[in-house]
């Protein structure tokens, strides 16, 4: 209890603050006179009281949090908030069931964008806003998680990114500079979102749609207010705007911040990931467009280029919008997109997966081992952006990547054993662990996750969480060493 109470105290505070975010959809409901108003009243009250109670109970054991507490806190926040976030859904549509509602909110807060809901167009606007707001809040959480918390916890070689932070961070205590860093980055995030809203409105969306899609694009969540996602608008202009903002969101927000402060683009040049992200996406867009065009799916190359670039960028950056049913393309194309979703997003972005920096490091390490075969005695450092990376970090990253692969294999086998077909199981696991959204076949862009059994839904909710919290944060809780002493 002494161990847990201080964590619950902080958790209570987070829930308390979180309850106020429900005011936005509540106001929308009042304003739009939609049917979901009563749902938000009650949810707000319940969340507020629960948060307050936790805070109060934990207050007596209040103390400075240690690094080790960080693991538990992060996990509790990421499992606790979705539970409260389900309230509006459960109250408005009790037939939905807790399993599906929890899947939807986990998917929202981890910015995955996989949905079990259909008939989105007919949903009260306030509920749609709530889904997208969750996406956006999730994105905020991820930025802090990725830039401030995970490096501190040392998860999967994240220490590497410490150097990139604006200010020095002490190693032993959790709170000090997190708040500062977070505020600056959130300002950046909010500013880009505002720009995106304006651009989408200018491109032809209604204000409401513009806000919702901007939330989903900047957080790389990928929810939409329409069943047919961005395909509903059928507008090349909107797609182009979204492509730009998705790519921006897939870059490191620290880099955006530096570029903004220095008023120059030099920061992007020094970022070791930017080149990889843009180069890979560009080459893939051209290659896959050619492939799809050659296969005769689209009669004209430009049409192919339009659909491929939007859907490919959307999946590769782990956003998850769709403008067409890419499941019907020759299998190589969607598989390649799923593969990209594993490696494309940058480390300080709102995207998921392994992150570009780890992928680059793994490739360099592979090359180094090959050279080692020839010159066994040579000392060959692995370099990123001109700096040699300490071996310990390379180690940690290798272990992380292996854990990632092992998790994908295990979860795929679990889903297969539960009766899903191979392509659906494998693609669903990849889409969920990378927090991308749509998979293929039964969970493809033309359909959603509603067809899965309860067991499968829980397995995938767990997978999304694993991916978002970078595996180790969760797995460490299963070791005996964590609970000892």
């Amino acid at each position: 209890m002494q161990r847990l109470a201080p964590i619950l105290h902080v958790l209570g505070l987070v829930i308390l603050i979180f309850s106020f975010t429900m005011l936005a959809p509540l106001l929308t409901a009042l304003f739009a006179q939609d049917a979901a108003q009563f749902a938000f009243d009650e949810s707000f009250a319940v969340t507020l009281i629960a948060g307050f109670a936790l805070w109060l109970v934990g207050r007596r054991w209040r103390r400075e949090l240690k690094v080790r507490d960080g693991f538990l806190l992060v996990l509790l926040v990421w499992t606790g908030l979705p539970a409260f976030a389900t309230l509006p859904f459960l109250i408005y549509a009790p037939q939905m069931g807790f399993t599906d509602a929890y899947f939807e909110t986990i998917s929202a807060l981890t910015t995955t964008g996989a949905t079990v809901m259909s008939g989105l167009d007919a949903l009260p606007p306030s509920l749609n806003l709530w889904r997208h707001l969750l996406n956006w809040l999730g994105g905020m959480g991820i930025i802090v998680l990725a830039v401030a918390i995970l490096p501190l916890l040392g998860v999967g070689g994240r220490q590497l990114l410490k150097a990139e932070l604006p200010g020095p961070i002490k190693d032993s205590k959790l709170t000090p500079r997190i708040a500062d860093t977070a505020k600056l980055l959130w300002a950046m995030y909010a500013a880009l979102t505002a720009l995106c809203v304006l651009a989408l409105k200018w491109a032809g969306m209604s204000w409401f749609d513009a806000v919702c899609h901007a939330f989903a694009a900047l957080s790389l969540g990928g929810f939409s207010t329409h069943d047919s996602s961005v395909g509903y608008f059928d507008s090349p202009l909107i797609e182009a705007v979204l492509i730009v903002f998705m790519l921006l969101a897939a870059l490191n927000f620290v880099t955006h911040f530096l570029a903004f402060r220095q008023r120059s683009l030099a920061a992007y040049r020094h970022d070791p990931e930017v080149r990889g992200v843009l180069g890979l996406v560009l080459a893939s867009c051209l290659g896959i467009s050619l492939y799809v065009w050659q296969a005769g799916v689209y009669p004209e190359f430009l049409t192919a280029l339009r659909y491929v670039s939007f859907n490919l960028v959307s999946i590769a950056t782990d956003c998850g919008f769709a403008s067409t049913d890419f499941n019907s393309w020759p299998m190589f194309a969607p598989m390649w997109m799923l593969f990209l979703s594993c490696v494309t997003a940058s480390s300080g972005s709102t995207g998921g997966g392994l992150k570009m920096i780890r992928a680059v490091l793994m490739v360099r390490q592979g090359v180094r081992e090959l050279e080692h075969q020839l010159h066994p005695a040579a000392r060959l450092p692995v370099k990123i952006g001109g700096h040699a990376v300490p071996n310990q970090i390379v180690f940690a990253i290798q272990a992380f990547v292996m854990m990632y692969i092992a998790t994908v294999v295990t979860m795929t086998l679990v889903l297969l054993a539960s009766g899903l077909d191979f392509i659906s199981a494998f693609s669903a696991v990849i889409a969920c662990i990378n927090n991308a959204g749509p998979g293929l076949n039964e969970v493809g862009p033309g359909t959603n996750y509603a067809g899965l059994s309860d067991f499968q839904t829980w397995a995938l909710a767990f997978t999304m969480l694993l991916g978002r919290l970078e595996l180790f944060t969760v797995f460490v809780l299963f070791t005996r060493a964590f609970w000892r002493g």
Binding site: V67, R68, F71, L153, G154, V155, Y291, M331, F332, M335, W336, F339, M362, Q365, G366, R368, E369, L370, E371, H372, Q373, L374, P376, N391, V394, F395, A396, Q398, A399, F400, V401, M402, M403, I405, A406, V409, L413, L416, A417, G419, D421, F422, I423, F472, F475, V476, T479, A481, F482
Partner: protein
Amino acid sequence: MSQILPVVHILSKVLMLFSAAFLLPLAISLGLADGAYRVYDEAIVATFVSGVVLWLFSRRGKRELQTRDGFLLVVMIWAILPLYSAIPLLAYLPDLSFTDAYFEAVSGLTATGATVLSGLDSLPPSINVWRTEMHWIGGMGVIVLVVAVLPMLGVGGRQLFKAETPTPMKDSKLTPRMAETAKGLWLVYAIITVFCILALWAGGMSWVDALVHAFSVMSLGGMSSHDASLGYFDSATLEIIVMVFALIAGISFSTHFMAFRMRNLQAYRFDTEIRWTFGVLGASILGLTAYLLYKGFYLDFPEALRFASFHTISVALTLGFSTTDYNAWPFFAPLFMLFLSSFIAGSGSTGGGIKMLRAVLLYKQVYRELIKLVHPSAAVHTKLGAQSVPNKITYAVLAFLFIYVASIITLSFILAASGLDVFTAFTAVVAMVNNTGPGLGQVGPTSTYAVLTDFQIWVCSFAMLLGRLEFFTLLVVLTPVFWRK
């Protein structure tokens, strides 16, 4: 040129020696008067003459081999012997294309067991003997490769196994004690094979069938003299014999050698891998039996156990015999077996995949990283048995695993892009890289690789070599650095 000559010189000797391998099918052909004896005459002459020519040509470049030459020699032997091995097949079956014949020979010599031939039952017995003799010879090659050559080259953390070889070895020169080690191991291999032949004969096979299948089992290859593979005999006794010998072949032959020399079973107790291999296999067999019963595929326990145990052992140890079309089982079962095939076989065995020792090391390394998250400054050692593993080796093993996974992904994409369905492409690549044999889907246990296009066949041949030579050996030779002075 001066770099290649000494390697070619050794290769020429190997070729001359290899020509003697055709004597066995020749003798059988003459003995049984099956009408194929001419093709072996041709093969012997062609192989021997090329050996002599190369020997004369390269005589002047003779010198002591260096580590670097070792890579080239290994690759050349494994890529060129199949050319000569294919001669009898090409000569006897004029309809067979060179691509297919080379594939069959590579599959033979890498002990993979994938075939493009059907109508095996009506082939002359000597041809079938030749196909599996390639397995057996390949098995001999693999044992020396993994126990003596690769550790010396330092491939993928193989240095670890240096300690296990009977005698100490120097690091710089290739030849010194290799011959002795090899002889000891081959003796054990040959003796066990003789026992296997006797056991299969006693179990009800004809002499020729016993010979063919013993060759296949001991090398964990998997070719058979019947289209229906071992299902042709439909005999539980034979299946048990095959399982026992497959398990023996799946254990490191250095361990067998030690046990043989010390005349007691102590050596098996000290082998860390055995416990893991048997443990995982036992648990998997029980699990899959339960799964097949639960799914209602088999109705009574003994029947389910019989099929599950035989196929799990056959596929997991990368043998590849089948007695039924397990492709028809609920997908989880065959995919799980394929998954096992990537790591179950022991490190000095004739099996393929990443080997149990590397899998155990990976597991321990991931666990170590988790402990490090809890105690960031603790020095945790990875231990195997009583011995702690140096970081350098853990590194090399992790890099090996990365190359393994990256190769599977890349080759699957290549096959998928060439028009194969994703499921077939993926399982074919896994089956090739692990040297298992049958994949699933279009290349499942009841069909052959003949359905693939020429391009796909070449990709598969490459994948088999890549897996057999433990990736690094082949990839190093393909890097520009290798050819630079």
